[in-house]
């Protein structure tokens, strides 16, 4: 099959699914809707595989499949095609999206089977995938922006899926508006790039990107990348625009798995990787990205340690893990960012689905204080979740270990990196191990705190199969990117397959020297040891001595309170931006519109009316007064004639 047709199938299959489910949204058969939607995504997945196979067949230097459907916008020098391009970077993305997407669709069939709006749900989910594929495959920034906003829109719809709940609807709106802030910056970034490069196509921008880094701040490259990065912070939940992601957990859990863990939130990372030559030319932006990434790692991890809602913990974990990806981008390790993006998609989707399974089993209970000891009720969920856990805390040889380790190594060795960044990353890994172990312990291990009237039960096969598949991927997913130091001692010396695959898509960091092997081993050992120790501490605290956490919390009282309340960032945004804005708007309306502009016009009309009534009073019907005017007129006339 030729590429345009495959590409069209890849893109349009979910869209057709959306249309079918959207038009029969009133039918209440959840299973049929789920089957239709899942089929659509599977078709998409198959096309993706076929395309990637074709891509692999191409010589590495020209490994690009590009398809142009029609000219979208063409005004003067601005020419934007509805064009899509598949290269090694987007190949990873589409496989993850359609693959993980298929699994999550499958999971949703079981999860949503009792929901009256299932058809609508699947329609939205399909629409999301359609937009996500546009985002990933688009050959230019505006086309990417189409998907970029589209996924935000679907995220809005899915977060507010149970719209009768005011809070959930508000969470959806919060997500959209926060994303919009990022999108506005994204637009500005596009404008700057277009005006300095004259094009918005990725390939051309990357070609035109200056080869020597510029240190100026007001330089178009720095400004443009900076604005694009702000756009990415919106979509990928980084400081300062991360606030929407925890609230986004109001949506159905598979949505959190698909959109808010595996795919959409990684769009920012993907965009930066897409434009890596450009970002490399702007070291200032890179520095900011790395710092923001590192700070987000810490922020997400610390808040994650204190939350009681199973999904909120995972959400802050996602924020934190996304921070790792940005840290990687910031130090120039784009390959590592993509790697972590992929492994994170596996294990975080797994954990979200696992939490979905738990929530399903617990009849919509999300508070981990009311769980515990679920291991014996939900064996499959527990074991799959277990593999997700080992992957995320970075135990070798599971997926997270390789990707996180690569990021940390780059943070240490890259000329764009810094020892402090490595230290923050390692600290983050330690905290991750702590809060993840806490989550495991409180949910699955220890004594059961399940209320008496709840009877947890294992989920149906449609839900457990995706869990198992993702569990396996969490184990083996990291093996495609085994670092050289480890590969060297393994039998058969496996190559770093991922690095090889991305070789032509990613520009090497200028001035990068080969890693020092000993140091790398030491760094690896330190981070793994720290993670294991911290996991043991957490295990001890939450399983063996359950009264300890409270003591600790009391000991660090105020700090705990600040962290537990998420650093009061939401409150600060409300007090500092939103409420004043609403108040100011009301003031504008009341004082400027109603009282100033209108009153001014009234004054003008009053003056005119006053003049009119003045003239009217001259004409009062008294004949003698009229006669007086006549005589005065005569006087005036005569005076004029005489004086003249």
């Amino acid at each position: 099959m030729n590429h345009p047709i495959l590409m069209a199938t890849l893109l349009l299959a979910p869209f057709v699914g959306f249309l079918i489910n959207g038009l029969r949204y009133k039918r209440h058969s959840a299973n049929l809707a789920g089957v239709i939607a899942t089929t659509a995504v599977v078709i998409s997945f198959i096309s993706a595989i076929l395309l990637v196979v074709d891509l692999v067949g191409l010589p590495p230097e020209t490994r690009v499949i590009s398809v142009k459907f029609f000219e979208w916008i063409s005004v003067a020098s601005l020419k934007i095609n509805a064009g899509f391009v598949l290269d090694p970077v987007s190949a990873i993305m589409i496989l993850v999206i359609t693959g993980v997407g298929s699994l999550i669709h499958l999971f949703s069939i079981g999860y949503m089977h009792h929901d009256a709006g299932a058809a609508k749900y699947f329609a939205y989910l399909n629409l999301f995938l359609f937009n996500m594929l546009i985002l990933v495959l688009g050959d230019s920034l505006p086309v990417m922006f189409v998907g970029w906003e589209g996924v935000g829109l679907c995220s809005y719809l899915l977060i507010g899926f149970w719209f009768t709940d005011d809070q959930k609807a508000a969470a959806g709106m919060k997500a959209f508006v926060t994303n919009r802030v990022g999108d506005a910056a994204f637009l500005l970034g596009m404008f700057i790039l277009f005006l300095s490069f004259g094009t918005l196509t990725f390939s051309e921008i990357n070609q035109l990107a200056p080869t020597d880094p510029t240190l100026a701040w007001m330089n178009p490259v720095t400004l443009g990348t900076l604005f694009l990065f702000i756009g990415a912070t919106g979509k990928s939940a980084q400081i300062p625009l991360y606030v929407w992601l925890p609230d986004a957990m109001a949506g159905p859990t598979p949505v959190s798995a698909l959109i808010h863990a595996a795919t959409m939130v990684t769009a920012g990372v993907y965009m930066i990787v897409r434009l890596n030559p450009l970002f490399l030319a702007a070291p200032n932006t890179m520095m900011i990205i790395a710092i923001i990434g590192a700070l987000t790692v810490l922020l997400g991890a610390t808040i994650g340690m204190t939350q009681w809602d199973i999904k909120k913990v995972l959400a802050y974990s996602t924020v934190s893990q996304l921070g790792y990806m940005f840290l990687a981008c910031g130090v120039g390790a784009f390959g590592a960012a993509m790697f972590h993006l992929m492994t994170h998609a596996f294990f975080k989707a797994l954990m979200f689905l696992g939490s979905g399974s738990v929530i399903h089993a617990m009849h919509e209970e999300q508070d981990i204080r009311k769980m515990g000891g679920l291991k014996k009720y939900l064996p499959i969920t527990h074991w799959t979740f277990f593999f997700g856990w080992v992957a995320i805390i970075g135990l070798p040889p599971f997926a997270g270990f390789f990707s996180k380790d690569e990021i940390l190594a780059f943070a240490f060795f890259s000329p764009l990196g810094h020892e402090a960044l490595w230290a923050v990353g390692a600290l983050g890994a330690t905290l991750t191990a702590f809060y993840m172990t806490r989550l495991m312990a409180l949910t699955f291990w220890g004594k059961s705190r399940v209320p008496k009237d709840t009877h947890p039960h294992e989920s149906p096969p449609t839900m457990s199969i995706p869990l198992i598949v993702l569990g396996v991927l969490s184990i083996v997913g990291g093996w495609i990117g085994i670092p050289h130091v480890i590969g060297a001692i393994l039998p058969g010396h496996p190559e770093n397959f991922l690095e090889h695959w991305l070789h032509h898509s990613i520009k090497p960091i200028p001035g990068l020297t080969p890693f020092d092997v000993t140091t790398e081993w030491v760094l690896m050992g330190v981070s793994v040891t720290l993670a294991i120790c911290s996991a043991f501490v957490a295990y001890h605290m939450y399983v063996q001595a359950p009264q300890k956490p409270e003591k600790v919390a009391k000991a660090i009282g105020p700090v705990y309170k600040v962290i537990y309340n998420k650093y009061f960032v939401d409150e600060a945004y409300f007090a500092g931006i939103i409420n004043p804005l609403v108040k100011a708007s009301k003031g504008l309306w009341y004082y400027i519109d109603v009282n100033f502009i209108d009153k001014t016009t009234y004054v003008i009309s009053d003056v005119v009316r006053g003049g009119g009534s003045l003239v009217r009073s001259l004409q009062n019907g008294n004949i003698q007064v009229y006669a007086m005017y006549i005589s005065l007129g005569l006087v005036a006339t005569l005076l004029f004639l005489l004086v003249r």
């Binding site: 019907g621 008294n622 004949i623 003698q624 006669a627 007086m628 005589s631």
Partner: protein, 108 residues
């Protein structure tokens, strides 16, 4: 410059000044009096003032047309007096007074 000429040589100017004075008297009456009938009289006065100047011009310019005009004016004045008095009568019937202000009520 008051020369004796002014008193001894009676010319057109004298008649015109006389006419003007009469006219102003009439106009003052129109403007100031409240009684409608006195008002009508003042109008007659003004018309007469005009007549004086017409006749004076007729005499000093040697044209008969001035006198014709006076003739017409007189007739019109008579007619006007008749109508005005009729109006005054109807006003009086209604208000027992002929104040000019009541003419406002003539409007529909």
């Amino acid at each position: 410059m008051l020369s004796t000429d002014l008193f001894t040589q009676i010319g057109l100017g004298h008649y015109l000044v006389l006419s003007a004075l009469l006219f102003c008297c009439g106009m003052a009456g129109v403007l100031l009096r409240r009684n409608a009938i006195v008002l009508l009289m003042s109008i007659e006065l003004m018309l007469n003032a005009v007549n004086v100047s017409f006749v004076a011009f007729s005499r000093y310019l040697g044209q008969q047309e001035g006198q014709i005009m006076v003739f017409f004016v007189m007739t019109i004045a008579a007619a006007e007096a008749a109508v005005g008095l009729a109006l005054a009568v109807s006003i009086f019937k209604r208000f027992r007074e002929v104040n000019i202000r009541y003419f406002e009520h003539l409007k529909g």
